[in-house]
């Protein structure tokens, strides 16, 4: 759906091609600002475009907008700093695109950003769109930092351009699965996933960890990311009477699912991953969300090392944080930081610096391992109490860098 956007896309494409056409030849990666070209100012100003991709339409558009707002705030903050790189004052511009959480659209939009000569990309939101898009960015030599794609495959493709600023599903899944089996003492677990790269990937990791800790998987059910009726699969799960139910999926699926569980009289403990760990879930499920246990890859927003300022600024501009906006903020900042260190806004020149990042972001210390995964990413376990996400415990993370228990390096 939403082909309605197509004419708009074409016009935008034509416009950006035209814009690049009148850009300066000696800086092919950077489109010169029309203003600067028209009247050469005393200090040369260059415009650096940073691409951002997330679903802005469709069932998880609220999360996409949250990501984009985080990135937008970062660009505004960076511009306020009046950054000078290589003797030129730099004005950053965010080029926000909509991939509709659809892998096909994801690659189209990725190509569009490459053609628009962006200097780097923050995105995409979903693992399912990030992975196919990453090969396009890789061919173009563009650094890509995803604030939220947690599927391990993203950084296992051997691309030197792919980075992420949050812990992956192997780490998160092992925390959830272990928590369910050990802390909650679950003997039986039912697992539902939404058949997306994210949901399926996370559910598989949870299954492994739960089984490794002695729990038995009594049902493995599936839905899709656009469904709102789950009674059929829930009825089936009810018959197996599990201690814990895990959902690998987004809040838009979790909300109605919780309500329908209540109607069917299912009393099992409901758990879910970062996609369902949002204020939106509480809004959608109402009372039925009480007692839900969920995890987020990262530290709780109020415990973010430099988070208070970000939190205040973001909330006053865009309202409450959904999930990933602090991470998209940091992803933009990491790109800009790497440009500063490389003294260049040319992707070919500053790309090597991205891997060497050591940046104190609002989400903590950001350093990448050789694959592009964040080193020692934190996983936080929350419980929903009185309509709020309450932190139960945090594993790993820069705050607790000494803790050897964090399975940060545990790769498949």
């Amino acid at each position: 759906m939403n082909q309605l956007r197509m004419p708009g896309v074409l016009i935008a494409l034509a416009a950006s091609v035209a814009l690049i056409g009148c850009g300066k030849k000696e800086e092919p990666k950077v489109a010169a600002a029309p203003a600067a070209a028209a009247a050469p100012a005393a200090q040369e100003e260059i415009v650096v475009k940073i691409g951002h991709v997330a679903p802005l339409t469709g069932p998880i558009a609220h999360l996409g907008k949250d990501n984009e707002n985080g990135a937008r705030l970062a660009v505004e903050d960076a511009n306020a700093e009046k950054i000078v790189i290589d003797g030129k004052s730099v004005k950053f511009e965010l080029l926000g695109e909509d991939d509709q959480a659809d892998p096909k659209t994801g690659t189209v939009v990725a190509q569009k950003l490459v053609d628009a000569k962006v200097a780097g990309v923050v995105g995409h939101l979903n693992s399912g769109t990030t992975i196919p898009a990453s090969s396009i960015y890789n061919q173009a030599g563009l650094p890509q930092i995803s604030p939220s794609a947690t599927n391990p495959k993203y950084t296992q493709q051997g691309f030197n351009t792919a980075f992420r600023v949050m812990a992956n599903d192997v780490q998160q899944g092992s925390v959830v699965g272990t928590y369910a089996a050990k802390d909650l003492g679950a003997k039986t677990i039912a697992i539902i996933d939404d058949r997306t790269a994210y949901g399926q990937g996370l559910a598989d990791e949870v299954e492994k960890a739960a089984v490794a800790n002695g729990a038995k998987v009594v049902a493995r059910e599936f839905t899709n990311d656009k469904a709102i009726d789950f009674k059929a699969i829930l009825t089936k799960i009810k018959a197996t009477n599990p201690d814990v139910i895990f959902l690998g999926g987004m809040d838009a699926v979790g909300g109605p699912m919780l309500k329908q569980m209540k109607e069917l009289g299912i009393t099992a403990q409901f758990t879910t991953g970062d996609g369902g760990c949002s204020p939106e879930l509480i809004k959608l499920a109402g009372d039925a969300s009480e007692g839900v246990i969920c995890t987020q890859a990262g530290l709780p927003a109020d415990k973010l090392p430099n988070g208070q300022k970000f939190l205040a600024e973001f909330t006053s501009k865009y309202g409450p944080i959904q999930i990933y906006s602090p991470y998209s903020y940091d992803a933009v900042m990491v790109l800009i930081d790497s440009m500063k260190r490389a003294h260049s806004v040319d992707p070919a020149k500053y790309l090597p610096e991205v891997g060497k990042t050591s940046y104190d972001g609002v989400t903590g210390k950001i350093e990448f391992d050789e694959k592009g995964d964040i080193k020692n990413g934190a996983i936080t376990v929350f419980e929903i109490k009185d309509g709020k996400l309450v932190t139960l415990k945090t594993e790993g993370g820069a705050m607790a860098a000494a803790a050897p228990a964090a399975p940060a390096e545990a790769k498949k």
């Binding site: 759906m1 939403n2 082909q3 309605l4 802005l56 339409t57 469709g58 069932p59 558009a61 609220h62 907008k65 058949r195 493995r220 059910e221 599936f222 839905t223 899709n224 656009k226 709102i228 009726d229 009674k231 059929a232 699969i233 009825t235 089936k236 009810k238 018959a239 838009a252 909300g255 109605p256 309500k259 109607e263 069917l264 009289g265 939106e280 809004k283 959608l284 109402g286």
Partner: protein, 307 residues
Amino acid sequence: MDTLLQQLINGLTLGAVYALVALGYTMVYGIIGLINFAHGEVVMIGTMVAFTVIVSLAGSGMPPLLILGVGLLVSVLVCMALGWSLERVAYRPLRGAPRLTPLITAIGMSMVLQNVAMIVWGRNYITFPPMIEKHIYTVAGATFTNVQVAIVTLAALVMIGLIYLVHRTRIGMAMRATAQNPQVASLMGVDINRVIAMAFVIGSALGAVAGCMVGSYYEIAHYQMGFMLGLKAFTAAVLGGIGNLAGAMAGGILLGVIEALGAGYIGQLTGDFLGSHYQDIFAFIVLIVVLMFRPSGLFGERTGDRA
């Protein structure tokens, strides 16, 4: 056994909603042979309007049931107006055009409505305020709520009303006449423009009722909710025999039940080879099998190749 009963209850509720939406497709198709793909969006607008009315009245101290009633009424009226305008603006100018043209217009209107709804109501999920206090009943191990009972009852009443309208009133007679042969009907003094507009208006009113049901059942609304619902309802209409009222009702309920049973038992039937993510495929396999043996659907007459 209680699982089977539960799945049947699940399917019946879902099916009642499908049936109401399917009636909107089938009425329009039966009369002018057009598949109005924007119908799912009319349902969505119905939910959204009801939501807005209910939320704005929620603080007024009126009894909840009355608020729900007002919400339903306003949403029905708005959707009737919308259905009428759709026909007037998008389809009537193309009355004599090849069949593909109004079909493409219908898809276009569907996108326009979706995007308008996104602008008006935003892209976030909307929580539909529960106006009926939910009671959960347990019978023989299966649970159902009073909302489900209300949905199935209301759907049955609306369908009986529709059958009465089509078979016992003047406008109904005019509709059946137009469906048989528009030219002859107009020669007999039937104002076919009015009849066609009425089909859209009534179909949209049913859609609005279905929209309110979906809203209060799932307590959730979204500007894209009409697309999948519309597609399923269209399938139900084809399953029952598109153009046939009883067929749309039976098709809707059948599809709902097949989906629920499919998701519940497909794993057992195939020895876990296929999981519950194949529930939609299961529904379509049934559709294909039915169409192989009865190409015009379960209750279908030879209306398909007319117009």
